[in-house]
């Protein structure tokens, strides 16, 4: 009797929660629509226009795309109306499963309206911005992949930040000493792999709380990299000039108008990220290895019963994750600025983790989330040029705020692997 009532009431509760959730999203959409109208559409004059450049880099005159010119007022009004319509439909009928897609769409409308408003009577290079987005998203998605490899096997890895930082420093140091970028890259991956091995030993063998173990590596990395940086790299400049990997346009693909310049004219880190994304995706979901890894992450007891070596799987995956984080770390020095600065990763490892959660522990989901964060970073660079009346410090906060919103699970509740973070005790 009591059992049935609880079942019924929990069903009712779930339904009510669903309804409030629907309504909350509907209201949120309407609020965004009002914001687009109030903040942007209201602030532009009917005759103003926004100009978006569609060419990236030096494009031969024959292949140049004409600038994309749109009326500022009409565009922002249209975006406000579209958001309001989506909100109204959500309130009346509800989009159901498509709600999160709609949230993404409305967020995109908001950003685009913002851009249109910011570029009124000015011009902005949209292609350049998207290219920056892609390169900024690279370390984030590689960090997220590192997290996915570890967490799918049941080990929480918040040490990605520290591994990236160590990787970045070692890449710069070894790359400078050996005058070979590839050796620097290899050294970065090895050192991060080593740190990952320490994390694995602490959390698998010694069953240290995985968050604490990760924090140990983060604090240690921050300490040792700053130590070596101020003792050597800043004193002997020749130890900190590794140079960077040059961009290499992919034949054929880089000639695609608009998209080619954004996605296929980049250095090995960007291409590496594409390849690794596909490899990890196929590996995790279409191979026997992936099935085993996921079994270990979801139900280690069951996996053990079936003869899968839980400890070995976890060790291997954490170290693989470390190699990945080292690759991501080398991006900061060898793929971007060509120099190591203290604490230069600036929380990207944590943002990568947020992207992983945002993407529900799937490689492509995480990559999509990384692109959003990457866009937030590229936006902040552009807006400084456009002289938007928002202090740059607030724009710099954007990726962090976005991370928190993502984590709060606005877009569906993300479910981690069931045994994530739990040390395995062999029976």
């Amino acid at each position: 009797m009591t059992a049935t009532t609880t079942v019924v009431s929990s069903k009712m509760l779930a339904e009510r929660a669903h309804l409030t959730r629907n309504r909350a999203f509907g209201i949120a959409f309407i609020v965004i629509a009002l914001a687009i109208y109030g903040l942007f559409a209201n602030d532009v004059k009917p005759e103003q226009i926004s100009t978006f450049g569609l060419n990236q880099g030096a494009v031969p005159a024959a292949e140049r795309l004409p600038d994309w010119v749109i009326p500022s007022y009409g565009t922002t009004m249209l975006l406000a109306a579209a958001s309001a319509a989506i909100g109204a439909y959500q309130l009346v009928r509800g989009f159901g499963r498509a709600t999160s897609v709609m949230l993404g769409l409305v967020a995109l409308f908001f950003i685009f309206a913002f851009l249109t408003w910011a570029t009124r009577d000015q011009s902005i290079n949209l292609a350049g911005m998207l290219k920056t987005m892609v390169s900024r998203a690279v370390p984030l998605s590689l960090g997220a992949l590192s997290g996915i490899l570890c967490e799918r096997a049941g080990v929480v890895n918040i040490a990605i930040e520290g591994m990236m930082l160590s990787g970045a420093m070692v890449a710069a140091l070894v790359g400078s000493v050996s005058h070979n970028l590839w050796i620097g890259l290899l050294a970065a991956m090895l050192i991060s792999g080593l740190l990952a091995f320490v994390h694995a030993v602490l959390s698998i063998k010694y069953k240290v709380d995985q968050i604490i173990s990760g924090t140990v590596i983060n604090i240690f990395s921050a300490g040792i990299t700053s130590f070596i940086s101020s003792k050597f790299l800043q004193v002997y400049q020749e130890l900190n000039t590794p140079g960077t990997f040059k961009a290499y346009p992919l034949p054929g693909l880089s000639k695609i108008p608009f998209l080619g310049g954004i996605f296929f004219d980049a250095n090995i880190f960007v291409y590496g990220a594409y390849v690794l994304l596909v490899v990890v995706h196929i590996g995790l979901f279409y191979t026997r290895w992936g099935l085993r890894v996921r079994a270990v992450g979801e139900h280690p007891q069951a996996a053990d019963t079936l003869g899968i070596n839980v400890f070995r799987t976890r060790y291997i995956n954490v170290v693989l994750g470390g190699l990945m984080a080292g690759f991501a770390g080398a991006y900061f020095t060898l793929g971007s600025v060509g120099r190591f600065d203290e604490l230069m990763t600036a929380g990207r490892g944590y943002i990568g983790l947020a992207a992983m959660i945002f993407g529900k522990w799937t490689p492509f989901g995480a990559a999509g989330a990384s692109l959003i964060f990457g866009f937030a970073e590229s936006l902040q660079g552009k807006l400084a040029i456009l002289k938007v009346p928002i202090p740059s410090q607030f724009l710099l906060m954007a990726p962090y705020v976005a991370t928190m919103i993502a984590l709060a699970g606005l877009i569906g509740r993300a479910t981690p692997p069931a045994a994530d973070g739990q040390p395995y005790e062999k029976q």
Binding site: I212, K231, Y400, P416, D420, G421
Partner: protein, 412 residues
């Protein structure tokens, strides 16, 4: 539960010393590893190592010399030069005395924010929360208290000081409330959210002190705030070079309060139960949400007090990046102190001496202060994995679950 508590309180000496063995050996081992880092990054040692096989003695003596200079200056910088202290005591001259005792008092000054911040992290741990955001909360505390410090004029110190301190606690608590409520309502993990709040706090403080920022001192080109009113300054006990101030005793008082709160009140009991076993707490009718939020806000408030203490007692204004990572160090400190207020105070005294000596070590032996972070990371690792220390020193008997603090995974 009450029985267990009363059994614990009737301690004998062995029981008292037992829990100190692992922390002491952890610190010792971390210092040894730290000395290896110092030796291996020393240029003379590196030079001597090239001829290691022909003249191993040279490399060895160079290492010993590097380590001795480093730790020697660390010791002198933190506790003072014993010969100088004795000479000063004999002469009785006030200037000599001030110089001789300056290092030890300055170590206490550095230990003060550590006590607050360590207590902050410890309170979080007690409730199963991992507050990495102490640094950001500390900034917010400093921002709030400096504002109260320079805005209100003509108040009596009896009113102004508590007001400014409370404002600091409020700032920290507010900053902790955001991740707390997100954790309680959506399950978003507090580790990432508190780190994000750290970055947001740094940017916010940069903006507040920027040219158009509301806290910027108008007559200065530097990003600093106006000085606080005299009435808001925490009184100092000695004439000038010695900066020892009331904050130290406030910190001790707050540690006592936290002890009383955690172990002698119902709320503290609930909080610890939620931390030890949330399922049991839920079945006993305790609200997990409420306890998480209370613990996090209390934690943030304590971290905010650390910031207030720095502003009101030491700097008397707010400058960019005024904190040298107290909030991050406090994690190691809370673990070292086993999240017990007394342990935290002892660990804070240790870290205060280390940190204050490290500045001198940087000047004399040219060793970057970051060595302290390395040593801290090692201390945390050894404390969290006592099995390493046990096997290193062939210690017997592993207490079940000792030293392990369980934070919770994503979204659970």
């Amino acid at each position: 539960m009450t029985q267990a508590v009363s059994a614990k309180s009737s301690l004998n000496w062995q029981k008292f010393l037992q829990p100190l063995v692992i922390p002491a050996l952890s610190i010792f081992t971390a210092l040894i590893v730290g000395s290896l880092v110092i030796a291996l990054t020393d240029l003379t040692v590196l030079e001597a190592l090239k001829n290691f096989f022909t003249a191993p003695g040279a490399a060895f003596s160079a290492s010993v010399k590097a380590i001795a200079t480093a730790y020697g200056s660390l010791f002198e910088g933190s506790l003072g030069n014993p010969a100088q202290i004795i000479a000063a005591l004999q002469s009785g001259e006030s200037k000599a005395l001030a110089n001789a005792f300056y290092p030890i008092f300055d170590s206490l000054v550095t230990a003060t924010p550590y006590i607050f911040a360590g207590l902050a992290v410890a309170v979080g741990f007690r409730c199963g929360l991992f507050n990495i955001g102490a640094e950001g909360q500390l900034y917010m505390g400093a921002i709030f208290s400096v504002w109260v410090g320079f805005t209100f004029k003509g108040l009596s110190p009896w009113v102004h000081i508590p007001f400014a301190l409370l404002a600091g606690a409020l700032g920290g608590a507010l900053w902790a409330f955001v991740p707390a409520i997100l954790k309680a309502k959506t399950g978003a993990h507090e580790v990432i959210n508190t780190i994000m709040m750290n970055y947001i706090a740094f940017r916010l403080s940069e903006w507040l002190l920027s040219d158009k920022g509301p806290l910027k001192r108008p007559d200065s080109a530097n990003p600093i705030s106006p000085f606080i009113e005299k009435s808001a300054e925490l009184p100092r006990f000695f004439p000038d070079p010695i900066r020892f101030h009331l904050g130290f005793f406030i910190a001790l008082g707050v540690a006592l309060f936290v002890y009383w709160f955690l172990f002698k009140t119902t709320l503290g009991f609930e909080l610890r139960t939620v931390g030890a076993n949330p399922n049991a707490a839920k079945y006993a009718g305790m609200s997990i949400t409420r306890n998480l939020v209370i613990a996090m806000c209390l934690s943030g408030g304590l971290a905010g007090l650390a910031g207030a203490n720095e502003v009101l007692g030491l700097n008397h204004n707010l400058a960019l990046s005024f904190s040298s990572g107290y909030g991050f160090d406090s994690i190691a400190l809370a673990l070292l102190g086993k999240s017990h207020p007394l342990g935290v105070v002892l660990a804070a005294l240790l870290f205060g001496t280390l940190r204050s000596g490290a500045t001198r070590m940087q000047n004399v032996a040219k060793i970057p202060t970051d060595i302290i972070s390395i040593i801290q990371a090692l201390i945390i690792a050894f404390i969290a994995a006592p099995a390493i220390i046990r096997s290193l020193y062939r210690l017997k008997g592993a207490g079940e679950g000792e030293g392990t603090i369980f934070t919770r995974g994503w979204g659970k």
